[in-house]
């Protein structure tokens, strides 16, 4: 069994390293620093950590103000409150003026578990992706989280990093290189391409193994950079395998599936099947049965792949 670690934990751990290298890095949280793991940074650099209380709109506004003064603020809360409640502050006070604010939101997706539908953000990628000047990153594991945090520091402008609550397998090792706007090939294949993001990447790998047993050669692409998205990789996958499946822990509307559909429509129309949350709110439950309930499983990806292949 591979090592497991939640991407929020990787975020909290790595922030300390980033903060060590970057004296201008400041962290803001909205009364969830235990859950978002920014409390680790707070312990190391108490003078650079600000808990603004349960006030997500002000979290984003103050982050914008700090950015105008040359600070590099990381603003953290749950995805539902950051991307949802504070949406218009992110739009008008961060993206519109293109301020250098990093928005690292945790507890994205159904894998929040027991807190239920009110707290399970399945819309955040769509909301952040549509904003001009915004970069959207969705790490698959702890290592990719670290690499994306490093990449975020090199971008002069707003970045959204989508993080999860639950432990997920560590897929990469330290040699992994993340490049903004570039997908990473996880496994090559010739019949169908599974483009996955976040915790669905590990499940896509499982699905590819299952498909192999059934005689279908599936390639797996990890799309960590949702915006900018790797148009060439998608186009190439469409041309070489002729069928695409997307897999994400997000609504199939507007997220990775939406983004890939846009690229395919523009560049290389081929059959596309989108695995994700099907225009529904989540609900309370343990993570594994929840993921099954909402069709976020290796089996669901296998079924989608077969369907995509049959449509060729």
């Amino acid at each position: 069994m591979a090592e497991k670690k939640a991407t929020r934990q990787a975020y909290g751990d790595y922030l300390v390293k980033l903060g060590e290298k970057n004296p201008n890095l400041v962290v803001l949280d909205a009364d969830l620093s235990g859950a978002t793991k920014t409390n680790i940074f707070k312990k190391a650099y108490p003078e650079r950590h600000f808990n603004v209380g349960i006030a997500e709109a002000n979290l984003m506004g103050m982050a914008a103000g700090l950015a105008t003064a040359g600070k590099v603020p990381f603003a953290s809360t749950f995805a539902i409150f950051g991307a949802g409640r504070a949406y218009e502050i992110i739009r008008n006070s961060i993206c519109y003026p293109k301020l250098n604010v990093k928005i690292a939101l945790t507890h994205a997706g159904i894998s929040v578990g027991e807190d239920g539908g009110s707290h399970q953000s399945v819309e955040d990628i769509a909301l952040m992706r549509v904003l001009p000047n915004m970069t959207v990153l969705s790490p698959a594991d702890a290592i990719e989280t670290e690499k994306m945090l490093e990449a975020a520091m090199t971008i002069e402008g707003p970045v959204y990093i989508r993080l999860g609550r639950s432990d997920v397998p560590v897929l990469f090792d330290e040699s992994y290189h993340f490049e903004l706007g570039k997908a990473s090939m996880m496994k090559s294949g010739s019949d169908v391409t599974i483009i996955a993001t976040g915790l669905m990447v590990a499940l896509a790998m499982e699905a590819a193994d299952q498909l192999k047993e059934e005689g279908i050669s599936a390639q797996v692409i990890n799309m960590g950079s949702i915006k900018p998205i790797d148009v060439d990789a998608i186009k190439q996958a469409a041309l070489t395998t002729g069928a695409i499946v997307t897999a994400e822990e997000h609504s199939i509307i507007g997220g990775l599936g939406g983004a890939v559909a846009e690229v395919l429509g523009d560049e290389a129309p081929v059959p596309l099947e989108r695995v994700g949350v099907k225009d529904l709110f989540g609900q309370s439950g343990k993570v594994t049965p929840l993921m099954e309930k909402y069709g976020l499983t290796a089996n669901a990806i296998v079924a989608a792949a077969k369907k995509a292949v049959s449509r060729k």
């Binding site: 709109a57 103050m62 603020p73």
Partner: protein, 269 residues
């Protein structure tokens, strides 16, 4: 003193002219806050029109961003950009957007327009100043109707919590918002007691068009030791243009050519 009076008169004329030319914009709340901006930019603030990004400058955030014309006219008068640019207000391709854009206009410290956000950003600026032990001030201008935005009070709570005594906010209390009288739409009163309860140093200026009263308030605000200050300025919406004064109908409407002519005649009288 005559200098400030002459300057604000010119700024008012520019406000009327540019909104007239654009046939669109917000004259009422621009005219009501003209003395506040004139005092800040021509007397109180440490800014350099030849170096708008000067590091330790004082900052100004127009939280009531729809009053962009008063900011543009003031910045032009101060020399941040040519006065002729004012003719391009709200035109396609202009640096002078309907609401201020910090990346387009020299001297604009923050892009604003969506109410409630400017004061929150100003609190972040003030916090950065505190972290770096800077002595510059962050000024912000709020509308009285804007106080209906919940974000204002989130920011007010934080500014007090972090003891941001380098933050000085003005409330342009002209008593009118786009749909009518603020006390009829959704009363923000008592404004002073609210800010006081949030831990702010509160100063009320009975005549928000008096440079003397405004100056006294700003000087006192600068001395606040551990609290942010709010200066509540009682003002007249549409000030100095008779047909616009105290008329909510002139919140967001451009005067026609005849109205511009009349307004300018009154301002020159």
């Amino acid at each position: 003193m005559a200098f400030l009076e002459e300057t604000v008169r010119g700024i008012r004329k520019d406000i009327v002219k540019m909104i007239g030319k654009a046939s669109s914009g917000h004259p009422g709340g621009s005219l009501s806050s003209a003395e506040i901006l004139t005092l800040l930019y021509f007397e109180q603030m440490n800014v350099d029109e030849n170096n708008p990004q000067k590091e330790d400058r004082d900052r100004f955030v127009l939280s009531k961003g729809h009053a962009a014309p008063v900011l543009y006219a003031t910045l032009a008068a101060k020399g941040f950009f040519p006065n002729a640019e004012l003719e391009n207000l709200r035109q396609l391709g202009s640096i002078l957007q309907g609401h201020p854009d910090m990346n387009k206009v020299p001297g604009v410290d923050m892009s604003t327009g969506s109410l409630g956000q400017g004061i929150s950003v100003a609190a972040g600026m003030a916090l950065a100043g505190k972290m770096d032990n800077k002595s510059h001030k962050i000024y912000a201008l709020l509308g009285d109707g804007e106080l209906q935005e919940g974000l204002v009070w989130e920011a007010a709570m934080a500014a007090s919590h972090y003891q941001l005594n380098n933050l000085i906010a003005f409330v342009d209390n002209n008593n009118l918002q786009i749909d009518g009288a603020i006390c009829e739409v959704m009363s923000p009163f008592p404004i002073d007691a609210k800010f006081e309860a949030f831990g702010w140093n509160v100063i009320t200026v009975e005549d928000g068009h008096s440079f003397d009263e405004l100056r006294t308030a700003v000087e006192a605000a600068k001395k606040s030791e551990d609290k942010p200050t709010v200066i509540i300025c009682k003002t007249v919406k549409g000030k100095c243009v008779s047909f616009m004064e105290n008329n909510a109908g002139w919140h967001g409407k451009g005067p026609n050519a005849e109205e511009v002519k009349q307004a300018l005649a009154e301002l020159e009288a």
